[in-house]
Amino acid sequence: MGVSTVGDELRCLIAADTDVVQARQAGRELAAELGFSAGDQTVIAAAISEIARNILMYAKRGEVRFTTVVDGTRPGLIVVAEDDGPGIRDVSRAMQDGYSTSGGLGLGLPGARRLMDEFEVVSAPGHGTRITMRKWKRSNA
């Protein structure tokens, strides 16, 4: 099983196809526990799916980590996807919205960013990639 808990962190190893499914399901379950709406759970799962797949496609191997936090009274989910792969040469271009024209091709980053509240990419050629995304539970949800 590629899922383990270290401290308050849930880790999913991404090395195979099925790990992507596992990671997004783990994320969805955590979101459900935090009380996210069904719609938001799906959104979170989709974002995880995109970035986990990127790890597999470009780095062959990596990790997705989940942490739950509380900001005042608002619960939130932090997802970190990290790998030691080739890294992204031009991060700003990778973040550009190419979705409407190519309809689903590309790195999946712009899409995932649209879905989450906060989104950060740290990457350089030869230095791997780390993506941090956060989603907060809506107060009226």
Binding site: D17, T18, V20, V21, R24, Q25, R28, A38, G39, Q41, T42, V43, A45, A46, S49, E50, R53, D97, Y99, S100, G103, G104, L105, G108, P110, G111, A112, R114, L115
Partner: protein
């Protein structure tokens, strides 16, 4: 996980039962394309009711299926997209433009019948079912 594909007259129905990995999706695509050719199917229905997430790879695969089926003379209908999944898809910017969609299997079959693809026989233009 293999997706069961049923043959109903000239139609093929693929019913996805649970979450699929990328490899499963690719396998489904191959299986459907092969069967469309083999049975000269006129219609393909992919039932995604059980999918709780549809990301870019899933959408791309469905598009490939529809495209290749059309090259072989078959119309594809995607049915059973869940409300939350549809919502996430449009936010992700994923569309199924140019591909027919319907609420469920029943609607999907009705659609294909109306298109004149005729479930049982070749009835050009006479396959219409009037919804009075």
């Amino acid at each position: 996980m293999e997706v069961p594909i049923l043959k109903q007259g000239h139609f093929l129905i693929a019913s996805i039962q649970s979450a699929l990995s990328d490899a499963d999706l690719s396998q489904l695509r191959e299986a459907l394309i092969a069967r469309v050719g083999k049975f000269r199917a006129r219609g393909v229905i992919v039932d995604v009711t059980a999918l709780d997430v549809m990301d870019s790879f899933a959408v791309r695969t469905l598009r490939d299926i529809a495209h290749m089926a059309r090259l072989r003379g078959a119309e594809t209908v995607i049915v059973g997209i869940q409300p939350e999944v549809a919502f996430a898809m449009v936010q992700l910017g994923l569309t199924l433009k140019g591909i027919a969609t319907a609420l469920d299997l029943e609607e999907g079959l009705a659609f294909l019948d109306r298109q004149g693809h005729g479930r049982l026989e070749n009835r050009p233009g006479h396959g219409r079912i009037d919804r009075g």
